[in-house]
């Protein structure tokens, strides 16, 4: 199923299919947020934002407004 990271549910695993590179900071790319890499949504903060992700083995948190620029294919 094709979607964006901000719509994932807790525990979802997905593969990055595309990124809107102009809307994402380079730092996020450098941390491994690139097409072909895996994403897992570990946790959503109690108030609904930000999102705690495992991207390509790196654990980091980003806001939903950033997450919506990352397209993924949900795998499980």
């Amino acid at each position: 199923m094709q979607t964006t990271v901000d719509r994932l549910k807790k525990g979802d695993r997905a593969t990055i299919t595309g990124i809107d590179a102009d809307a994402l900071p380079l730092k996020l790319l450098e941390m491994g947020c690139l097409p072909g890499n895996s994403v897992e949504l570990l946790q959503i903060a109690p108030l609904g934002d930000p999102m705690y992700l495992d991207i390509n083995g790196a654990r980091l948190a980003i806001r939903k407004e950033t997450a919506k620029h990352i397209s993924v294919e949900v795998t499980s």
Partner: protein
């Protein structure tokens, strides 16, 4: 440092234990300073190698890549670009974390491209079995064209091997491990043609980064090889993808992770610490515990320091021949230094707690929990760290805003952080509360003085949040909102790291503030001890004449007291105080308090020392603690000077006023303009004046 020493630079991502490696190599042989002109911390240490060789170790700020997004990261690039820098490394040690090898290697490949000898230090090797990771070291060494040291600073393993590698750095290859310029062969080919003597990757960094390179001007390169910003960004992305492809290929063979045998304690801990109820409960519980312990644990050492300095003043007074020098030492310098040394216990405890919270990885979880709430006030989750550390001192707190990506959120955090109650306000609060609030309990167990102190902390924090809300509404600053926070693995803090951190930070604070306080104490003492004109110089005659006219019976001691206060009123300091009196009178202060408040604009903690200096100039009796002297002060009508209205007014003034020259200097450096510290100063002083005015007029 001599030139025969090997220059080693430690480079690595944040949270990989780079500082632990630095501490393990250098022990306590380190010097902490600043890079010239900026506030980035510069740590250099000294290390003995086998066979009597020696090395200077430079601990560079943590960075994810050579694409800098902060001042700290710029330092790394500038050093690596400028071969003539006296700290330019003979060999770079890239420190990585075995659990995040993939991400860490990105920086490694970039440094290899600069053709500097590089050693790869894979840290936290003791966690490999725990995480089910195994590495094919010889494959990695071959593919990455380097030597690898597997180390564990926690278990003290591999440090000797790393030293061996540093010693034989001349055997290391300086060949890059991949060809990054293949992402745009035409462009890079062109660069190579124009500048045949420069490394292409160096030119590329000069083009894309905002750094000083002494070799070539950016304009010079761009005049022939222009690219638009978005083209450049796209190329940087291509570069990153290319590097990751290479790293993935290398690790496919070089690293195996057996997920079955990996244990994941961190995820379970995360579930509790970021839980919607427990997460917040634990966070506020920890905060409460910190404040409680700071106050109860520091009480004993603070009392000891206080009495030690009182004793020193008396001893100097008694054992040195009477005269100007003795007075300066016993009335100016000793109380002034005592006023700063007394902070050491509280500041050390604060830095201890903050250092433990950061080292353990917990701080990132707090950032995660608080982001949504803070965002509503125009702040970022990352503002929590400065706001909490602001309780120790606003200076490191403001420097801690550097990792806030969004400029507007960062600016607001910088502007409001000084509202949080820093430790310099504590002595002012403590002494005034003890003067105007009775030592009683409500509900049987709550100490009113303690409650008052808590209320002042709350007032500072609420004012910070409120000011942030207002700034967020009125500031017209547009910036892209980025928020990326790494969630590092939980780690048991290393005692050694925490200890060194606490010692260094406390030392820097005491020395920095101590210099200002010492200077001000001395200046004040001179201003209070000398005056212009006849009124000052003939004070004894004038006062004696006045007294004999009124033909009241006066003892010699009382006469001396009258003369001393007449002299003080007509000293340079007294005259200055009289000038500002109309402004401060509506707040309930006399000119002596006015002088203390005025001198506190250099640093708040000066307040008590200033009053101590003013009240002890000309006093014969040194035994009285400053508190007693303040309690004995009377208004002309005979009422107590430090009564409830004046006390509350002073407390509120100190809670909100921007009285710290060092903080203003830091704000100027961090925002790169005088505009923001000026705005901050004006707004905070206005808020303080209005709050104090309202309180005094209302309570009176």
């Amino acid at each position: 440092m001599s030139n025969e020493n090997i220059n080693v630079a430690l480079i690595g991502n944040p949270n990989v234990g780079k500082t632990s490696v630095f501490n393990a190599l250098t022990g306590l042989n380190q010097q902490v300073g600043n890079y010239p002109g900026i506030t980035v911390e510069k740590k250099v240490g000294f290390c003995k190698l086998p066979n009597h060789a020696k090395a200077n170790i430079l601990d560079l700020p943590g960075t994810y890549s050579l694409n800098a997004s902060s001042m700290d990261e710029n330092v790394v690039i500038e050093l690596l670009l400028n071969k003539n820098d006296k700290l330019f490394p003979d060999v770079a040690v890239v420190v990585t974390d075995v659990e995040n090898l993939k991400r860490n290697l990105l920086l490694f490949t970039q440094i290899k491209d600069l053709e500097i000898p590089v050693i790869l230090a894979i840290n936290m090797a003791d966690r490999m079995a725990y995480k089910g990771i195994s590495l094919d070291i010889s494959h990695l060494e071959e593919q990455l064209n380097t030597k690898i040291a597997l180390i564990s600073t926690r278990k003290k393993q591999g440090i000797e091997e790393l030293k061996q590698l540093i010693m034989s750095y001349k055997n290391l290859s300086t060949e890059p491990c991949l060809n990054a310029s293949s992402m745009d062969p035409d462009y890079f080919g062109g660069l190579r043609k124009t500048f045949p003597n420069e490394l292409v990757y160096k030119l590329w960094l000069v083009i894309t980064q905002d750094v000083n390179f002494r070799g070539i001007e950016k304009k010079e390169i761009l005049s022939e090889h222009r690219k638009s910003d978005s083209e450049l960004k796209r190329m940087q992305q291509k570069e990153t993808i290319k590097r990751y492809q290479f790293i993935n290929d290398v690790l496919k063979v070089g690293q195996t992770i057996d997920k079955e045998s990996a244990r994941d304690f961190g995820t379970k801990l995360d579930r509790i610490l970021t839980h919607k109820v427990w997460g917040y409960a634990i966070f506020f519980g920890i905060l409460f515990l910190i404040f409680q312990s700071i106050f109860s644990w520091s009480e004993v050492p603070m009392d000891l320091i206080d009495s030690a300095f009182g004793w020193m003043s008396t001893a100097v007074q008694e054992h040195m021949p009477p005269g100007v020098l003795t007075d300066l030492i016993s009335q100016g310098i000793i109380p002034g230094i005592g006023g700063i040394v007394i902070f050491i216990p509280q500041i050390a405890f604060l830095f201890l707690f903050i250092s433990v919270l950061e080292e353990s990885g917990y701080m990132s979880r707090v950032v995660f929990l608080m982001d949504k709430i803070m965002k509503r006030f125009g702040l970022s989750g990352k503002s929590v760290v400065p706001l909490i550390s602001g309780v120790a001192c606003a200076i490191p707190a403001i420097m801690a805003t550097r990792n806030i990506e969004n400029w507007k959120e960062r600016l607001i955090t910088i502007l409001v952080t000084p509202f949080t109650t820093c430790s310099a306000r504590l002595p002012v609060y403590t002494i005034i509360i003890s003067l105007v609030i009775p030592d009683e309990r409500v509900l049987g167990f709550l100490n009113i003085r303690g409650l008052m102190l808590m209320a002042l902390y709350a007032a500072g924090f609420l004012m910070a949040i409120f000011a942030a809300y207002i700034f967020n509404k009125i500031l017209k600053v547009t910036s892209k909102t980025y928020f990326v926070v790494e969630m590092p693995n939980y780690k048991l803090p290393l005692l050694r790291n925490v200890g060194i951190n606490v010692v260094e930070k406390t030392k820097a604070f005491v020395v920095g503030a101590g210099k200002i306080i010492l200077a001000i104490s001395i200046v004040l003492w001179f201003l209070a001890s000398y005056g212009p004109g006849d009124d000052f110089n003939n004070a004894d005659k004038i006062v004696t004449a006045q007294i004999s006219k009124s033909d009241a019976a006066v003892s010699q001691q009382e006469l001396d007291g009258h003369i001393a206060s007449y002299k003080l009123e007509n000293s340079y300091l007294g005259i200055a105080g009289k000038v500002i009196e109309p402004v401060i009178k509506p707040l309930g202060y006399d000119w002596k308090i006015g002088i203390a408040v005025l001198s506190s604009f250099a640093a708040r903690e000066v307040f008590v020392g200033t009053l101590a200096t003013i009240y002890s100039v000309g006093e014969t009796d040194e035994q009285d603690p400053i508190r007693e002297k303040m309690a004995a002060e009377r208004r002309p009508d005979g009422s107590k000077l430090f009564d409830l209205p004046t006390g509350i007014s002073l407390l509120l003034f100190y809670a909100f006023a921007m009285q710290c020259a060092s903080t203003l200097a830091i704000v100027k450096k961090e925002t790169n303009s005088w505009k923001w510290p000026a705005i901050q100063f004006a707004i905070m002083s206005a808020v303080a004046y209005l709050a104090a005015l309202t309180a005094y007029q209302f309570l009176q």
